[in-house]
């Protein structure tokens, strides 16, 4: 049987599809960009690619090119018609031939394979339709993100416990992954930075070994029932220097300014501005530009890095029920790249912070 979460999403999606006057919705998914596919058929694809066709009556056909994923989908996706399509694009293209006179929307339109995107008859861009649903969460979706946030806290505790001099960066992540596989987390987005002022950002682990004085930054993003929550924290190997303590205090002030700004009715830009003003007030305005930082936070949900991006140029309105991470992560010219971020859900009056790990510059003993 479909999960209550999937049923709630399905009901909402069918309403939106009907309101848009669509007969069919075509969605694409892979292990990187899986949110649209998950919304339609609740499948977390790992290998290969998928296309799914949602009919206005609720019937879903999931096309997968990997035979291994077909086996898994047959077990995990009750109520969905599963088709093994080694020639994924050709098979779906032929299926669409049967609906020539129907109105078909597609999402995310930019990832729809070229051959199908080139169809002229009736294939419209329905990305915004699903984007709206992805951003404004149902109560049950927020509950799932709340569960993921708890596991973000627990995962970070495992990460901290694993961090000690001599260990390689990838070994810390291995410990977190083992914990997650045993505790209901089937995916996790995580990057890491190890070192000092030479570190300009986070990346996948490259084999660096921790040593005294290193800042160890991580962005940890567990996925529970398809929903991601994120936490960003920084620790120091050994006692932190006065410069590291002072820099961290600035980031904490910035993050808290951003979180304080969150409430229904403001824009993403307002949150970014609240964070960035703290840096500008301390003469660090250059470090909130795209030369040093990508975003000042972003949405979380069925994608680890979803809309809206928290940037001063993004005017997306924040509504109650939106879930965001507020993270003023950027390069600091004295201590290096530093991160701090918490997940929040926006409310009419403000926001609820979902992560509970103390906002500290942690220190692990050498």
């Amino acid at each position: 049987m479909p999960t209550p979460l999937a049923e709630a999403r399905s009901a909402r999606l069918l309403e939106a599809v009907a309101a848009a006057g669509l007969d069919l919705l075509l969605v694409y998914g892979n292990a990187w960009q899986n949110d649209y596919l998950r919304y339609v058929c609740d499948f977390g694809i790992l290998e290969g690619q998928a296309l799914a066709l949602l009919h206005a009556d609720g019937h879903v056909i999931l096309y997968l090119d990997s035979p291994l994923e077909v086996d898994r989908a047959e077990v995990e996706c009750a109520g969905i018609e599963i088709v093994h399509a080694p020639d994924l694009v050709g098979e779906v293209d032929r299926a669409l031939d049967r609906f020539r006179n129907q109105r078909v929307g597609s999402a995310p339109h930019r990832l729809i394979p070229r051959k199908i995107a080139a169809r002229r008859e009736g294939l419209s861009d329905a990305t915004a339709l699903i984007d709206r649903l992805l951003m404004a969460k149902l109560v049950c979706e927020v509950d799932a993100i709340r569960r993921a946030a708890r596991l973000a806290d627990e995962g970070y505790a495992v990460f901290r416990a694993a961090a000690r001099p001599g260990r390689a960066d990838y070994e810390l992540i291995a410990e977190v992954e083992a914990f997650y596989r045993a505790h209901g987390v089937d995916d996790n987005f995580q990057i890491i930075g190890v070192g000092g002022p030479e570190v300009r950002g986070m990346a996948p682990p490259g084999g660096k070994r921790l040593k005294r004085g290193d800042l160890v930054t991580t962005e940890l993003t567990p996925c529970v029932d398809g929903y991601y929550a994120q936490i960003c924290r920084t620790l120091v190997v050994g006692a932190p220097s006065a410069e590291q303590v002072a820099a961290f205090a600035l980031y904490r002030t910035a993050m808290e300014a951003g979180i304080t700004a969150v409430r229904a009715g403001i824009t993403a830009a307002d949150i970014a501005r609240a964070e960035n003003e703290v840096f500008r007030a301390h003469g660090l305005g250059d470090y909130v530009t795209d030369a040093y930082t990508r975003v000042r936070g972003h949405g979380v949900g069925l994608f680890a890095d979803s809309k809206p991006h928290i940037l001063e140029g993004v005017t997306t309105r924040i509504d109650a029920g939106m879930t965001l991470i507020v993270h003023p992560n950027t390069y600091h010219p004295i201590v290096g790249y530093l991160v701090l971020g918490d997940v929040v859900v926006a409310t009419e009056q403000g926001c609820e912070v979902l992560t509970a790990t103390p906002r500290e510059l942690f220190s692990v003993s050498p």
Partner: protein, 350 residues
């Protein structure tokens, strides 16, 4: 998302190996009168770009343009803050971080006066990137380059074989952690196996479990409590520095069944080590069946395009199921022995 060890080591993947691979592609381009060859990469379609440059994305996507002469260009939507990291794993191409990688490649093609350009898996290319390329280079004819690339990838070089063997060692180590007498829970077993693979440097590790082989031999992803039955199987799909393998092992809890499984494991090891160049795999398997066993399914997967492993032949779709001298595949086999299922998978080299 990719979060294991991602780093380049000159001793494992020397630059002259990458240069030789690019030369091989350029020779094919010359035969087909191509001005350029474009490969797409993302988390699930990394292999062509990894093969040519060493680079695998942990996130986002990108396009590699190999022109007829001069350095390749890699255009990616990854942030320019990680350009240094990209360069650390990709020593052979220019790197352009841009929100519109297709437009960047199209602009290059137009500037070079390219007229005929092959795209790996053209029909599967994201429509948005395709529109960007032709928007910037409307005069360029784009054709599908999949067959030419697959021909290039029929054989692996010694550097790739060494990386595959390292990945295989990680997969075997991961599965060796499972003691069927000790482990009762599928989620814990998956976590244990994944941890070992990652602790030893796996770039990626997907652990799948068939928790009750007597009831269902399909593999699922497990992340939480699920009891393991008397006979179960684990599949470790492991990547090391861009090279992927699968290993599947069947486990039994009682001693008599363990002996039967061990005998079949030994048979599979012998059979998979004796795949000869040019000999059809399906026929080879059928001729070597252990007494009382029925071959219920098999599949051969190779990295012939953008996928790390792609089914090239199987019981359901035989296709071309021989390997050339120097070829590589992951062979997955399902048997039924006296009404009991057995699953196995291993890399094979011809």
């Amino acid at each position: 998302m990719r979060r294991g060890l991602m780093a380049r080591d000159e001793s494992e993947l020397p630059q002259d190996v990458l240069a030789a691979r690019l030369d091989g592609l350029r020779a094919a381009m010359g035969r087909d009168r191509l001005d350029g060859f474009v490969c797409y990469t993302n988390l699930v379609q990394p292999s062509a770009v990894t093969y040519l440059t060493g680079f695998t994305p942990y996130w986002s996507d990108g396009l590699l343009l190999v022109p007829r002469s001069g350095a390749p260009v890699f255009a990616t939507a990854l942030s320019k803050r990680v350009a240094g990291w990209i360069a650390s794993t990709n020593p052979v191409s220019e790197i352009a971080c841009t929100p519109k990688p297709g437009a960047a490649i199209g602009t290059r093609l137009a500037a070079q006066g390219a007229r005929r350009v092959a795209v790996l898996e053209l029909d599967r290319l994201p429509g948005g990137l395709f529109a960007e390329i032709i928007g910037a280079a409307p005069a360029v004819e784009l054709i599908d380059g999949s067959a030419a690339f697959a021909t290039l990838r029929r054989r692996i070089d010694t550097a790739e074989r060494a990386l595959i063997e390292r990945a295989d060692m990680l997969a075997r180590t991961a599965l060796m952690q499972i003691d069927p007498a000790q482990v009762a829970d599928a989620g814990a077993a998956a976590g244990l196996a994944e941890k070992q693979a990652r602790l030893h440097g796996a770039e990626e590790a997907y652990i799948a479990v068939a928790p009750n082989l007597a009831g269902d031999r399909r593999m699922i992803r497990v992340s939480g409590p699920l009891p393991l039955a008397d006979r179960f199987a684990l599949r470790a799909t492991v990547a090391y520095k861009g090279s992927w393998v699968r290993r599947t092992r069947t486990f039994a809890k009682d001693a008599a069944a363990q002996k039967a499984v061990a005998r079949t494991d030994a048979w599979f090891e012998t059979v998979s080590a004796s795949i000869a160049p040019g000999r059809p795999i399906g026929a080879h398997l059928a001729a070597q069946m252990p007494a009382g066993a029925t071959l219920t399914d098999w599949m051969a997967e190779s990295p012939i395009g953008s996928y790390p492993l792609e089914a090239v032949a199987s019981a359901r779709a035989p296709g071309r199921d021989d390997l050339p001298d120097g070829g590589f595949a992951v062979l997955t086999v399902a048997l039924e022995i006296g009404g009991t299922p057995w699953l196995g998978a291993a890399p094979v080299f011809a």
